[in-house]
């Protein structure tokens, strides 16, 4: 890994800092700029596309699958491939109930990391979201749930 810059480099970042982040910066010996890429590993997809609806045909109704509910019970974490695992499983990231303020998100977009998140955590979460898409959007097997077979 390349040596990380040790001085603040960006005027924009200086002016946007909140008091909390000034404290954080004082504690950290290190990075002034947010790490954007994984470094060393193959690029994982950072995009989950909402799939278009199947054509509203009889065949699509009969072939669609019904999603299986999450087994989530209590404290769960997400492993890198997006599966829910018990909290404390090595390599897994904290669960999905994260929420950040709009302000925090805006700052993340400008290059400051969301508190407590990392590249790996984002990837795990994306894989989790990807797995939620069992059917196709726009026709969610509604009819097949209702129609007797």
């Amino acid at each position: 890994m390349a040596a990380l810059a040790s001085k603040l480099s960006d005027q924009d970042q200086m002016s946007d800092q909140t008091p909390q982040q000034d404290d954080d910066r004082a504690d950290m010996a290190v990075p002034s700029r947010r790490q954007l890429l994984m470094g060393g590993a193959a690029a994982a997809s950072a995009i989950v596309s909402i799939r278009p609806a199947l054509a509203n045909t009889a065949a699509s109704v009969l072939n669609c699958t019904i999603p299986v509910p999450d087994p989530a019970k209590g404290n769960v974490h997400i492993n890198p491939s997006g599966q829910l695992v018990p909290a404390g499983t090595p390599g897994a990231f904290p669960g999905t109930g994260r929420s950040f303020t709009g302000e925090q998100v805006k700052q993340a977009m400008r290059g400051r990391p969301l508190p407590g998140t990392s590249y790996g955590q984002n990837q795990a979460y994306m894989n989790y979201i990807r797995r939620l898409q069992s059917g196709t959007s726009g026709f969610t097997c509604y009819a097949s749930l209702q129609m007797p077979r």
Partner: protein, 95 residues
């Protein structure tokens, strides 16, 4: 894929970007498709749009001003992979 492939950006008005608390939503008007994205995709799209397009090399140079990208070879390969995926989805155009 090579790091010298030039990708043309979608025009500003073609993409609607809405950050949520944890991911960014993207609506692509020409295709009507919705995409959920996380870093580094929003940053790469932003860099593409600022110049109207770019290669992995030019995007890398732009992003390196604001972010720590790690070893250049790996970073270039990663950015090239993301650009290729964007092109597959019609969110950028390989010239």
């Amino acid at each position: 894929m090579t790091t010298a492939n030039y990708y043309r950006a979608e025009p500003q008005e073609a993409l609607v970007m809405r950050p949520l608390a944890d991911i960014v939503l993207l609506y692509h008007r020409p295709s009507g498709r919705t995409h959920m994205v996380v870093s580094p995709v929003p940053e790469i799209l932003d860099a593409l749009q600022r110049d109207g397009g770019g290669t992995a090399i030019s995007i890398h140079a732009r992003l390196a001003r604001d972010f720590d990208l790690g070893p250049p070879d790996e970073a270039l390969a990663e950015i090239a992979a993301h650009l290729a995926e964007l092109a597959d989805l019609g969110l950028a155009y390989l010239k």
